[in-house]
Amino acid sequence: MNPEFRSACDGYRDEWLQLVGGDSTTADLSPSASEHLQSCAVCRTALDESRELFADLRRALRPAPLDPALHRRICDRVARPDSDSGALRERGPWALVATAAAAGFLAFLFSPDAETASSRAETLLASHRDVEAIVAAYGLLQWDASTEYTLGLVGSRIDDLERAAGRESDAPTLLPWTTDDDWDAPAEHADAPAGGMATPRRRLFVDGGLKVCSTCCREREAVDGIASEAKHPAWYSTRILASLAMTMCNASRSG
């Protein structure tokens, strides 16, 4: 850093940066920044040199046109939806099984006629966080999360809810979270506890799902919107079941 660069100039560094980056023009500068720029030769020199540096960086980083082979590969990839790598795997038969299990459970949970379900709903409504997590998982399912994360999140929550409601969960027999059912990361099989459920793997799914949830703005907005509806169980259950029906419809079309 230039020793002549005065600390008073630091107060304007964000404005200079946006100016040099092209996000703003001199007309957008604050009055004090404009005044400072006119009176400070050091900042003017720094700006000029930074403009040169940014211009060189831009030219060095300028993206080249795609190689024609890559262009073709992308177009082929889009036209080849049955690839075994990537997204399509997300809507495999497990998605159907998982949505059916979740739909059945939620329908049972919020059924107004079932006495046990009613009492269970009261128990569960005490913890909206758990319910919201399920909603969040379906928010992910409809956007851009991998199935493993979604299923892990849903499965884990259903498991927890059913345990809280006082009975053993059927979910482990329905959802793909044992090592035998894990088709995607064989290297991690060794981490699973012997002879039992792959709890670390499931934990990984859940953590992964939550990370995806927290790092994708659009889905987070969607999830937030839906989660707020969870405060109204009837509307929430209608909404989630409609969502599940659409997912099942898509999955059954693929079958």
Partner: protein, 179 residues
């Protein structure tokens, strides 16, 4: 396992033409981003998968003015996912997959090849978080506000990282002034 191709509607003629145009316009920026920021990943596979996922919502892709942002968000999620889970299909398998900077295409090259090499070497040595912002601003041409939105960090954090990156680059390249 049944035929799952029905889940994704095949693109119609107009959509196919639009896709071709979008790949030509936005593809280079997405590819450059992946290649510069996630050099250990298979950039071609990531970009292909990115477009595949984006075309699941082809109407949005065609209509949105934030197309590059949308594609970069998908690519970034894929890259992070690939690194976290060490997906073999996304990791660059051999050294050959990691296209060295020296092999850059002709129109990527500055007039002064030595300067370009120095610049790229300096960028490559930046901390990941700073390098990502430099690439997003100067290669992907996202505005700082958009970068903040993409990375889910405050604008001040983006500017601070860019400032730090600029300082490092200036020192490394022998410039001593900074904005």
């Amino acid at each position: 396992m049944g035929d799952r191709s029905a889940v994704i509607k095949p693109l119609k003629g107009a959509e196919r033409a639009a896709l071709d145009r979008i790949v030509r316009d936005a593809g280079p920026r997405v590819y450059a981003y992946v290649r510069r920021v996630f050099p250990n990943l298979d950039a071609e596979e990531i970009v292909s998968e990115t477009f595949f996922r984006a075309t699941r919502n082809m109407k949005t892709l065609m209509m949105t003015e934030r197309r590059v942002f949308y594609l970069l968000a998908i690519a970034r999620n894929l890259c992070r996912d690939g690194l976290r889970r060490r997906r073999p299909d996304l990791i660059a398998n051999t050294e050959l997959d990691r296209r060295p900077d020296e092999d850059a295409r002709p129109d990527e090259v500055l007039d002064d090849p030595e300067l370009r090499r120095s610049l790229l070497a300096a960028i490559a040595q930046l901390p990941d978080a700073q390098r990502e912002i430099v690439v997003l601003r100067l290669s992907s041409e996202l505005r700082f506000e958009q970068i903040a939105e993409l990375l889910h960090v405050p604008l001040g954090t983006v500017l601070s990282r860019m400032h730090a990156a600029t300082r490092r680059l200036s020192i490394r390249l022998g410039c001593f002034h900074e904005p």
